[in-house]
Symmetry: C2
Subunit: 163 residues, 2 copies
DNA sequence: GTGTCTGCAAAGTCTTTGCACCATA
DNA sequence: TATGGTGCAAAGACTTTGCAGACAC
């Protein structure tokens, strides 16, 4: 799979064409779906959303498009612990730096970008401390908060096989 | 699957028997393997480790034992982005609160428990802020640092399909 | 001795690949 | 029109389940 031309100008769609890839309906649709939500979507979510608008679109294309966007750095993967990968536009792709809230009940992952500069500062310091301590070259971090989302809390019950 | 008697006394092994489950060789071995490393292990890692010591032990038992320990809260799952679940003794199980370092190259996950009280304090404050803001009932958090481990850095090259 | 646990084999779920046709540039 | 992209079907990887024999208590 190609990985040239990974630039940072424009939107994911125009970077696709600028990279020599074609702008096709499935690709436009998936990018649009990913752009228009605070949630991380599974391949199936995306397939259903795209297929609803154009029934000719298949699941294979969804996986292949996600793999392409992933290789281009436009999309990142998140896992909720149920064995299904979830996808979101990456920070490289223009999304703000964000963290995640995972519902242990419905496994939905929501992101939020509103956090303190104190937090950013601390993470930066922690990263360099870890580099010194363990010899890792650290490129980033992700924070997941686990809990029960308002919708599931309203339904009552907080069970399930959680992390 | 049963889920009674989830107590916090003793070690994972004795909690198993206290919970009415039998102490069998595969179970003892898996707990021992998980206890004796700073790494998160895949089902296959555990299978190989256990099978090496007793070739009669099969992969099915590894999965079933992990499911049991998971339901008992003794073990938690971590995902490195390669589609394989990784397991470690949970904090409930006596492991210290810890965070993770994921190598984007070899996908190995290492944990570390040495962090500042400042960090703990900040996370606690962040959690309650999120509860107010988004209405989640937050039960915990996990932090992953992404990067390249010393071993992979030494081998040169930092590519791969990363998050 | 009884009920749980185990191993093997088969099945299930999510994801990837092969191939011929279609569409974008 | 020449490649790259797509859909379908089949294959692959990881995990779970069914069943008969084995073991812990």
């Amino acid at each position: 799979m190609k990985q040239e031309k990974r630039n940072r100008e424009g939107d994911p769609g125009s970077r696709l064409t600028a990279g020599g890839y074609r702008s096709t309906e499935p690709r436009r649709l998936l990018i649009e779906l990913l752009s228009s939500t605070e949630e991380c979507l599974t391949a199936e979510d995306l397939y259903l959303g795209a297929h609803h608008r154009n029934p000719r679109i298949g699941l294979t294309t969804v996986y292949r498009t996600l793999a392409l966007l992933y290789d281009l750095g436009e999309v990142s993967r998140v896992e909720a612990g149920d064995g299904k990968a979830r996808y979101e536009l990456s920070e490289h792709s223009g999304a703000e730096h964000h963290h995640h809230l995972i519902c242990a009940q419905c496994r939905r992952i929501r992101r939020y970008a509103e956090f303190s500069s104190e937090e950013l500062e601390l993470m930066r310091r922690t990263e360099s401390a870890l580099e010194k301590r363990f010899g890792y070259r650290i490129t980033g971090h992700s924070i997941y908060f686990h809990g029960i989302c308002p919708a599931c809390a309203a339904k009552g019950d907080g069970g399930g096989r959680n992390a």
